[in-house]
Symmetry: C2
Subunit: 462 residues, 2 copies
């Protein structure tokens, strides 16, 4: 019984490991186009800034480690075609520059996602990069060593753009973020996004919003400026972080269904519509557990969790009651920009309104330790609830301990808790770890007040 | 309409504030026996160690602040008797040393808890203290200033004893903890407790377990040693932290029902069996949401949450569908001992077995950041699940980010999540904030493995 895994970053390697663990007899091969597998792509901004010094630290497991577990890894091998009827693959050995045929009994597609490059003049110039793979990071670092750029432009103010902007600023470059939308961190509401923008300003990063870059201006084949709004901004290094898209061509050409998000459609067992083909990771669509609609959440932790499910089910060929399920996602995420933690889970206020919820929110600025305990930091919390049921459906958090508070909210949404649960929730308290009532409970009290105002609650009875 | 609140620490002041907020016309008086109200008792160990320098920082709101909101606060006033039929109180003015009568329309009892003192010879000696009130902390500090004790003994290795031991060690005393049980932190299982003991040792605190103190040995009316196991341990300062008990005499004498835990019995609206009398805080029993049994959780955060509910309901006189409910507690708690966070929620393995659960556990040692990110710390996590349903019913966490992980578990237990939820839970990931899969998810995977081994799961099908 032969399992082939296409793609060896987060989902693919996790799936292969898990398949090996539950089925020692399986023959397992991972094909990976890039020269490395098992890379922490989320660590790349920290490699760029030097916070992570050693590239090998970003590699969780090498092909040699997989070989010890009897998992074959072939890097620089690109799968060009899947024939789902005959269960065969056409594979290109990029080193030898030749094709060969392989076959599978079970297949896992984990082809990931790739950076979107803007269709603007000059995008091909030297000094213009995306940051998606380790090879990208190394190319950027080599360019910096050779050319010593003093000014950098980051196109796109999403979390990758913001992390990269921090990295470039930290290594001494004048850095400007150019964002087409009206705010950076535009997955967040305006209060949260404003706090991010303020922090960037404090740290000396320039931000231009509502600006579409028209052109990258070159000289001798190298970028020297970007042009937007009729003006030129000098920049000897440009990083494009305008987004990523799922790599689905291979699956699509083989007949795999693609969902409305543009990613591969799977059932709750992560099985595609093709026989004995599962899919996992950034190339796959999931279910938004708040809206019940398809969603696409290309994040490393989700990819790992999907890999566990797909690997187990593919190893057993399971697809019924015995199979593991991947229920869906909440879009939970956190990023750091300089000293600020920025996190969200579930829907934004805007997103909730678009999804048809009657939205009630509660927001506050709180401290993350007892007020008298040294080192307390400030945190903005906004809870977003469904007005009809009182259920928590989203949260945005900016500041100290954002990572802690967002996980409480994510777990609460998963458990379908509503505001009366949240105000009474039995969280842990001691002065070094929080104020007597967790900021989440404080925010929930404000939310409860909004509900009481709104409904025939105890307050309105007065 | 007159509301009287007996006791003004956490629950009482919260209840009064909340009552004022929802009903501006109410006449409100708080009677408080101690000279201060609204003290953070949880902050006392940090006042003792000097981490908190100013005593006033521990006072959240003064009587003057309450006066601004038209809430009368009478400190050094002890309520001696409640007459529930006539709705009158006998109050002793401790300053004037005289009694007077007062009356109420609605009453909230928040008389708190008091330190248990051991019935052993020498407990009355100078230099022997409990640490429960600000006055205790000040007396200890004065004694230290006057007598410069070099050696301290802390009797009792629960969280208060451990926090105090840290404080005394930090200000330079040789410190020994003497615990009657076989381990310190005995609300925790042996693995967790062992980690606490190791850490104390590293920090130079001596620990003697399985030792009952027989006598405190004095000289000139002052303690100079404690005697246990036939030997004397020199100690010029002794802090007794063997536990606390609810202050229920006043309520009991008035006819309030006392529950099996020894604390005041209330319904889910925090109403006692007496007409128009509510109760909140450390003197009150709650419902353990895991076992469904009465439990007693004397903690500051719970007291605040109860105060909110009792204050609202007393202000409205509500006790039906309109009233706020306090559903119960999980026994969630966290404490710091030197550099170690120690936290739990729900049942311990032992407690779960005693409660009749068939217990399945998953434990691991994890790191709290991406392995390659600087500053990652180590954390022990043990998840405790109900073997029959797969539900999480407890967690113990010792180490870095313990406060973060315990709140995820507490929220999961509240939301009745089981291990398949936990392995797929959509928590937040970025390298500065955690490994790609949260340690909670990793522990849940181990738990899932135990269930798979145990049941007709996918693994057993092999």
């Amino acid at each position: 019984m032969r399992l082939v895994v296409i793609g060896g970053i987060a989902a693919g390697t996790k799936a292969a490991s898990r398949a090996r663990r539950v089925n020692p007899d399986l023959e397992i091969t991972i094909y990976q186009e890039e020269p490395e597998i098992s890379i922490s792509e989320c660590g790349l901004p920290y490699f760029l800034s030097g916070v992570v010094e050693n590239r090998d630290d970003l590699i969780a497991r090498t092909p040699e480690k997989f070989a010890e577990k009897d998992v074959e890894v072939l890097v620089r091998h690109r799968v060009e075609r899947i024939d789902p009827e005959n269960k065969t693959l056409t594979v290109r050995d990029l080193g030898a520059d030749e094709d060969f045929e392989d076959s599978y009994d079970r297949l896992i597609i984990s082809t990931g996602a790739t950076a979107v490059l803007p269709p603007i003049d000059g995008a091909e110039l030297d000094g213009v990069f995306a940051l998606r793979f380790l090879t990208d990071a190394e190319a950027i670092m080599e360019y910096i060593r050779e050319r010593s750029p003093e000014r950098a432009a980051v196109i796109g103010g999403g979390y990758i753009g913001l992390e990269v902007a921090e990295s470039l600023k930290e290594i001494g470059m004048d850095t400007t973020i150019v964002e087409v939308d009206d705010r950076v961190a535009n997955a967040y509401g305006s209060e949260a996004a404003e706090k991010v923008a303020e922090h960037l300003k404090e740290k000396g990063v320039d931000v231009s919003t509502c600006e579409r870059v028209d052109e990258m201006v070159g000289e001798d084949g190298r970028v020297r400026a970007i042009r937007f709004n009729g003006e030129e901004l000098e920049a000897e290094l440009v990083i494009v972080g305008i987004g990523i898209k799922p790599c689905v061509n291979l699956a699509k050409e083989a007949g795999a269904e693609i969902g409305p998000t543009g990613a591969i459609r799977v059932d709750k067992y992560l099985k595609t519509n093709l026989p004995d083909v599962w899919a996992a990771g950034d190339c796959v669509e999931s279910l938004d557990l708040v809206t019940g609609e398809p969603s696409w959440v290309p994040l490393g932790d989700t990819a790992n969790q999907m890999g566990r499910v797909a690997g187990t089910n593919a190893a057993y060929g399971a697809a019924g009651a015995d199979a593991l399920q991947f229920p869906g996602t909440l879009g939970t995420g956190v990023f750091k920009v300089f000293d600020l933690g920025v996190a969200k889970t579930g829907l934004s206020e805007e997103g909730a309104e678009e999804a048809g919820f009657e939205v009630v929110t509660g927001a506050l600025e709180a401290v993350d330790k007892a007020g008298y305990y040294p080192g307390a930091g400030s945190t903005f919390i906004k809870l977003i609830a469904d007005g009809a049921t009182g259920r928590l459906i989203g949260a945005e958090i900016v500041g100290a301990s954002a990572d802690k508070y967002v996980d409480i909210c994510a777990t609460a949404i998963w458990g379908r808790l509503s505001y009366p649960d949240l105000v009474n929730l039995d969280l842990a308290y001691a002065p070094p770890f929080g104020p007597v009532l967790s900021p989440i409970i404080q925010a929930a009290s404000i939310l409860a007040g909004e509900f009481e105002k709104k409904t025939e609650g105890v307050r309105a009875a007065e």
